[in-house]
Amino acid sequence: MRAAIAIAETNPRLRVAVVSKVYPMRSHTVSAEGGAAGVIAADDSLDEHAYDTISGGDWLCDQDAVDEFVKEAPQELLRLEHWGCPWSRTPEGRIAVRAFGGMQKKRTWFAADKTGFHMLHTLFQTSLKYTSVVRYDEWFVTKLLVDDGRVQGVVAIELMSGKIQPILAKAVILCTGGCGRVFPFTTNASIKTGDGMALAYAAGAPLKDMEFIQYHPTGLPFTGILITEAARAEGGWLLNKDGYRYLQDYNLGTPEPEPVLRSMELGPRDRLSQAFVKEVEKGRAIDGPYGAVVHLDLRHLGRQVIDAKIPFVRELCQKYQNIDPVKELIPVRPVIHYVMGGVHTDIDGATPLAGLYAAGEVACVSINGANRLGSNSLPELLVFGARAGRAAAEYASTQTDPNSSLLAQAEDERRRLERDFLHKTDGAERLATIRTEMQETMEQGAGIYRSGEGLTRAADRLRELQERFRNVAMQDSSRTFNTELTAVLELSFMLDVAESIVHCALRREESRGAHQRTDFTGRDDERFLAHSLNYRNSDGSSRVEYLPVTITRWLPGERVYGR
């Protein structure tokens, strides 16, 4: 949405098509809870935000990109305020900021604990005033159209009618979000199936740093519903079965009654999730019906603080867990939340493939490195959505109309969809079975701790699942809102993305941020201070190359928390 507005403002003569498989206000940004980081407080500085981001990302962030990001984030958040976003305020009516994990200053803007919801609705509603923005709501993109080395549109299915048709364009921006659904237990909505990553990969653009997958330390068991980091920023504690704040045993500082920035419960997500695994190994977690959990304790905050600052946490716990955090402990466990990697872009959202741009979780600029800090992803989608929109608008303004030869390509794609899925009568494999096996493979092989052996096994399993996918059985041949067709296409996207994650993880023989190898336990800056770039070869196989990290001011150092 931010990119669409940026295009409309850069060149009002361009026609903008927003193509989305769901209505835009259903997009997964809606679920983001805690907040959006941007330096605004008098005691804060851009350099401190940049340093927190870079050290939080275990020095895999491109520092030039981080510099731009921290500079533009407050401007973008302010712009959203002018568009009506109901940011929480101080008693004087100024923007209020809260603490967040891995940040040394309070700089996270928030709209209670429905920040993503308010941002998305503000952007969507504001976009309605731009008449050059035309929406293709509930259109499912199946392919990028590439000709003459340029991306010149997409093929999409209009779900309501089942019509399969090309949408030609001088430039395409992917804003499709992440791929959490390749794992079994995730905060991600059902729509987060890595579509944009798989589409770009198939079209020849590389995926970057796909091995870096973030576990959020506090998800509700079974549902995977996120309990926001803001719960800890407001003073929540993580306790093991003995009621002990166990993070003190993991080099994250000493427990204080009040929250301390960059310490204990306000450490970075990768370290907290890893501490959970160790705690389970020590037998100090709590057994629950869905596996081991620890407890998040908010009781000492009291009803008033909980209702004012994190009301959604209370609502979610009461509705889905049947517990009231005012009086009871919340069972939590790490849950797949975010992928740091994505389609390789430069600082303007441009991919190496002409005409193709990407922004948000689908992209990897990279500002998140090996571990994203909480509250950096919302400003990221604003800053880089706007930059990609402006860059794509300028590019499109200089391009000729798309080639008519693309229509033949689109026709081929329509025939492929009909042959392989809609008209398919044979096939023995159940779609949901392949999906479940893929998810289990990923959890076993590419979870919080990984090994060469486990990753190799996962790669073999995924190859096997790709084979079995060819034999998938289709029950639904209808054109009208065929959700079996979209589910099978999503599965094909996820299988490609899962393979990319595993291949990159296997080759990265070190431990950095969210990528922890039990067989290579240290960070290896000699060999791996570099981004993985995963390309698809023309025969369908994949290769991984490396691109040095851009270091401008901060040389790689130790990640220090709690001291």
Partner: protein, 247 residues
């Protein structure tokens, strides 16, 4: 062995049948399963042709509204055990054309949304360099409730006026108009009043408040509508008394 429960689902396949029919499926009735879990069980294990919308399964994306035993509900927060021993009747939301199975068409709402100008309207936009608009927590609380709408359409499904007159702009859209009208940063309430008063229907709302009752986010659209009526009445009274001065 899990308890089981029967879901009686409205099916409609427009390419095959002229009228909706019902089909029954038996699903596990687990303690923490919501209706949506039951539907996904059917889709994954029993019948891949069943169609319904869902996404976040945490009550915030607004996709999964359906009629459960006659009441409009978000199926991601409606627990199966509350309906034990069953059967549970699940139908698409009422008052909308059905596209297929449990999926309704909402293009009408999307068009209505644009007509009420749901964005900040100002004569002069504040430059970014001047920082944020000041807005105290009290000023925020004026409109916050109306900003919580997730566009789930339950209020339209419950609205007796909308069921008779689809031209009625409807509860969620009016609540959203009020959300901006009551925002201290906005200067567009006059324009929105003009737009809303062109639409009939609003005067037919009898404040029975079904919309507010079914709202999963406590937005209180009925309150917004009453408030709007009062504003509209006052404005027309002012324009009668002060023909040049009312806005």
């Amino acid at each position: 062995m899990d308890d089981r429960i029967t879901l009686r689902l409205a099916r409609y396949r427009p390419e095959e049948e002229a009228e909706p029919t019902f089909e029954e499926y038996e699903v596990p009735c687990r303690k923490d399963w919501v209706v949506l879990d039951g539907l996904n069980y059917i889709k994954d294990q029993l019948d891949g042709t069943l169609s319904f919308r869902w996404s976040c399964r945490m009550g915030i994306c607004g996709s999964c509204g359906m009629t459960v035993n006659g009441e409009p509900k978000l199926t991601c927060e409606t627990f199966l055990t509350d309906y034990a021993p069953g059967p549970v009747r699940i139908e698409p939301l009422q008052n909308f054309p059905v596209i297929r199975d449990l999926i309704v068409e909402m293009t009408d709402f999307m068009q209505k949304l644009t007509t009420i100008k749901p964005w900040i309207v100002r004569d002069e936009e504040r430059p970014l360099a001047e920082g944020e608009y000041r807005q105290t927590p009290d000023e925020m609380s004026e409109y916050m409730q109306y900003s919580m709408c997730i566009n789930c359409m339950l209020c339209y499904a419950a609205c007796p006026v909308y069921s008779l007159d689809p031209k009625f702009i409807g509860p969620a859209a009016i609540a959203l108009a009020q959300r901006y009208n009551l925002d201290s940063r906005d200067e567009g309430s006059g324009e929105r009043l003009d737009i809303l008063s062109q639409h009939e229907g609003i005067w037919a709302c009898t404040f029975v408040g079904e919309c507010t009752e079914v709202c999963p986010k406590d937005v209180d659209p009925a309150g917004a509508i009453q408030r709007y009526k009062l504003d509209a009445a006052l404005t027309s009274l002012k324009s009668f008394l002060l023909p040049w001065g009312a806005r």
